[in-house]
Symmetry: C2
Subunit: 751 residues, 2 copies
Amino acid sequence: MSEVKDYKYIGQRTIRPDGFDKVTGRANFGADLTLPGMLWARVKRSPYAHARIIDIDTSKAEALAGVMAVATAADFPAIASETLQMGETSADIRDLARNNLALEKVLYHGHAVAAVAAVSQTIADQAVELIEVEYAELTPVMDVLEAIKDDAPILHDDLFTAGLAETPETPSNIAMRMELKKGDIDAGFAEADVIVEREYQTPTVHQGYIEPHACTVRYDEDGQSMIWCCTQGHFDVRASTAKILNMELSKIKVIASEIGGGFGGKTTIYLEPVALVLSKKSGRPVKLVMNREEVFRASGPGSATRSWIKVGARKDGTITAMQGILHYEAGAFKGSPMAPGVMCVFTPYDVANVHIEGFDVVVNKPKVAAYRAPGAPQAEFAAESAINELADKLDMDPIELRLKNAAKEGTQAIYGPKFKAIGLVECLEAAKNSAHYKSPLGKNQGRSIAAGFWFNAGMSSSVVINMNPDGTVVVVEGSPDIGGSRASMAMMAAEELGIAVEKIKPIIADTDGVGLNSTTGGSRTTFATGMAIIEAAQDVVKQMKERAAAVWNVTLDQVDWVDGVAVNTADEARLSAAEICAAAGSTGGPISARASLTARGAGPSFAVHVADVEVDPDTGKVDVIRYTAIQDAGKAIHPGYVEGQYQGGAAQGIGWALNEEYIYDENGVLENAGYLDYRIPLASDLPMIETVIVEVPNPFHPYGVRGVGESSIIPPLAAVSSAVSNAIGVRMSELPCSPPRVLKAIQSRDN
Amino acid sequence: MSEVKDYKYIGQRTIRPDGFDKVTGRANFGADLTLPGMLWARVKRSPYAHARIIDIDTSKAEALAGVMAVATAADFPAIASETLQMGETSADIRDLARNNLALEKVLYHGHAVAAVAAVSQTIADQAVELIEVEYAELTPVMDVLEAIKDDAPILHDDLFTAGLAETPETPSNIAMRMELKKGDIDAGFAEADVIVEREYQTPTVHQGYIEPHACTVRYDEDGQSMIWCCTQGHFDVRASTAKILNMELSKIKVIASEIGGGFGGKTTIYLEPVALVLSKKSGRPVKLVMNREEVFRASGPGSATRSWIKVGARKDGTITAMQGILHYEAGAFKGSPMAPGVMCVFTPYDVANVHIEGFDVVVNKPKVAAYRAPGAPQAEFAAESAINELADKLDMDPIELRLKNAAKEGTQAIYGPKFKAIGLVECLEAAKNSAHYKSPLGKNQGRSIAAGFWFNAGMSSSVVINMNPDGTVVVVEGSPDIGGSRASMAMMAAEELGIAVEKIKPIIADTDGVGLNSTTGGSRTTFATGMAIIEAAQDVVKQMKERAAAVWNVTLDQVDWVDGVAVNTADEARLSAAEICAAAGSTGGPISARASLTARGAGPSFAVHVADVEVDPDTGKVDVIRYTAIQDAGKAIHPGYVEGQYQGGAAQGIGWALNEEYIYDENGVLENAGYLDYRIPLASDLPMIETVIVEVPNPFHPYGVRGVGESSIIPPLAAVSSAVSNAIGVRMSELPCSPPRVLKAIQSRDN
């Protein structure tokens, strides 16, 4: 366990290094790069949700003046099935290629079938209309429970359910079944005095990032290429693109632009290999940018789910059994976040008897992507709703019920580890003791709470620290900054070096400029890249002490490092970092250090949220009137950013709970492909979200850091919907709790 | 001494990594960056070669519509005198600032006095005309021998000759005197049977780079800044700019563009601090580009010299004494390459009695810059011409005379070291044995030879090597590639790693992206940065062996590394670099390595050139009809590039010998400020230059590398002018041997 240290920079609210660039508009995002001779591209998309491609005739498009290249899946090398670790999720490269450009079948409305590069966007737009695609239309399957029926239309003839005792002989839409068990579930329910059992439903949702997917690429005559794009993980863009196009990694340089939101949605690729093919065929740079409608129709949303939950407890509140069956929509290709959902769903509870089954199911919607704690909000919405209902039935306070059963240090988590120090109890206590939880409610108002659990990830990070001759510092990292990590990296370097954070410049290198870095996701960056920063900074300090020892002709153990100054313990002589660095050329060379690691011991993260809502009984409209997000940060490096993560996750979860859903027509066509009709919360929709940072140090990190980026999106779904339930007296088990659905519940109650 | 190794990649003629970019025009040079909202700038320059600035009135320029900022020296912070190590030369920052924008005095025609940034180049050009500068004109001094006279106009009231026993009480134009002595010079001449004594003169010359100085800069609201420029050393641009503007190094990112030639002329700065001031004042990015005329009038040429040389020998050819007095023009501010001239002038000879005096003298010309082996061509022109004359008087073959007196292993060089293995004798033997040297000459033709010596430099280099998961490699270096170093770096990495050079991508990072690197100059890059590459690559191999050992559960000494594959010596199990790198995430993290060093032991470099000329007796025009450049490379990493260096240096030296000179009028105004009137050799002027690569390994480098970039410019001055002497029978001691001067010599002979 980390001891509590007296930090100088850690825990401060330092100025963000990218602030001026962002507020002045100087920061360059995915669509902001323009190259000489660049072409503009557009993707031709499927008008059907499910169809076989009979023929693609690009000749008329190619004949249009100004068209420089046309690409179809035929331009991709044949790809054997291969799985690539892609940050939080793993992608099948063959599927990924077919998602980038459809081969043989289109599997959702908007599926890419071809692309054109032309000398203007207008010509590219005209040219895609001239591409003639002959389809054999098939019946789409749009719902996970429909898709698993025996007579459902089958999306992939070669998809056989994995995770069964035996691989089945017939293909199905169930890509995988997963099961976790502990104890004796039947005995557990037999012990219970009270049982809650219910089905839950969550819709397909969008991550709500503002910036559409975009890239500008260049493929040179010698096979060298460059990709500029907005992504959470430029090394994964490189890996995926290289695999799809059968290129060597050293032939692709990926530069991560600034990113206008990702939240998991930018951990995969849609455009880059297509644009590179167009660039290679045309010999010109190519820019390919999705419009908003394309983002909705053809990039990866959060998975829709259907869950069945059963929980039982003794009268004293001891939960004796928890059972769940979770169905996740994968969209057009296998790979929903079902597995993390299964692993998270009951993990806040230390319960003897647990049984969870999960199913990853393909449907004719775009392939889902990660969305902040992927899979967990859907599963834990169901579980936490059931726990709230259980508390109701037991006539117990929902916090007390959770405290009685909470996972804590020593709890054996069903997904593997025995927990070291974790902060769930501390978060529950903070909720219980909050002014918010003790405050009175008015008419038509309801309050509830929910807990949330997320693993957090470690994965690989590489950094370099270069000392300048004036003692200022450049920290070279390769984790795209999606939530303030430039600041946290500079702060950790400052702490180790004893050099003021203002003198430390964090930069995010392209894939050529620094060693491998896993995608920024899984709340891993401040934890794992931070560990690399700390390791490299410690190496810098060691080198600086060595230089000082050499100057003083003393042994290394006679040199202390105090606040950025080497101190000779014998005679109190001092050499500052600036003095040591200025002389470095003559004492052995410039001072720099690197660290590359695969971080282990990401600290499990727990959050507890308290939500108050007011329901308009006439319209069913729900207003969140007070909201508190409590979460264990382990150690908050930059509290302002940590609070921002808590608030951002809460806002997204509230939107998911109340309004957000993809609405498809009977042909599988999305009817609300834009922010006017797909309603994310605006600032004016939300109260100021209160935050409480709990700090139970992660014993595996030098400063005790846990990731903070994801857990905050988990509790709002159940906290808000249970608060609605409490306000109207009807159990809400389907999201979103939109006005029509709430009004219907009120009306059903009153009838 | 390095053993001769069996190399796999070293010594091959691999394809240059930047070839496609260069031939397609895709490569971006100094003027090629354009930023949104960018302003265009122009510098206001002095119409006088020497004047006091009474007043600068910028009000009319500022009032012109479209002008966004005006800068003068008043915008620079006050700078105390401070010397910064600047690659091959050292710069006084106070002088450098005043050379960038004149303060109090203008010291040469074209000296920058102010600058304007405007929304268009046209407006910027108009605006500088509206700046009113009131001058008090002073008499210029344009020649080094005039400048040292007691009654000469004094350029700097605060310049007192350094290097004397006592600092004098009155200022002078002599910035420094330097003296090197060995033995007893008078006794040496007393021993001599034959003595040659003569005065020599070399003109101010231009390095002949094609690309003018150019930069685009941005100074942000938070004090962060970016400089894009063509330079041989972006870290030195950063250091100089930071000092002049009193900024922290971490606040300046310098990106080195591709470079259209530098040859020493791009080791200093003229524009960057001025452009940054304009950017800071305007809040906009600024582009500032010299036109050709400005390059000639106001950037640093090669130093003009006046030398007196006296050499004596016994009849058998034993040189008994060598004496020289060398005067170098520094231009407007102190700091000619006098010191290396003094250190090089007689260094090819192992002679008992030597005496050299050197003088660094300011004159009203632009401050000189480095030019390929700075200082050495001028001094060795004089010395080698004298040696050729001595050979004549002794009736000895000039190669035999040199062989008899040649420096060799064990020779105590006058500038410090006792030579380890050096290749002068081998070069002389190669010349003697060449078909060229044995070939007959025709009418009006002459032949001669000359030797050349240059130290070569080491200095600091930092590199990082990143292994990609597919076993391809990125080599991150920070040495601008002015002569093919991308290729040599990739080749050395390939050799150490045992990975094909095509799989290795060398990139040149900006000042943020890699640790400190000294300027590409002093022929240091393949030597010193190469040493860092080798060290880092050896670390990579060690790490890969460690990973393999861990996989096999054996000790490290049981793992061999053979051609990029780890081999288990016990059971012949094998793991390729690609396999090890693919698994690196799960065996400890990504694999990368770094090295930062200050390289010692740069190998002294000797060259011997043979020149045949034909003189047109009617016009004095000289044609070089055959030319052979022989030089010790230590070990030629990429023979094609090495030959290119030999040929390029020879071409420049031939131009210096025959045609190039700055011609000033009586007011100190350059009359030939452009390539139409300043005549550098064209391809059509030169024969194919034959090359011989001698390889006497440098014992201080793992592969025996010596720098090859500079020595080749030294011999042509004496070789060609002595060949002219031999053709016409008149001793040519003043350069260039241009048609008027040669014709005059012929006429003086005939009269």
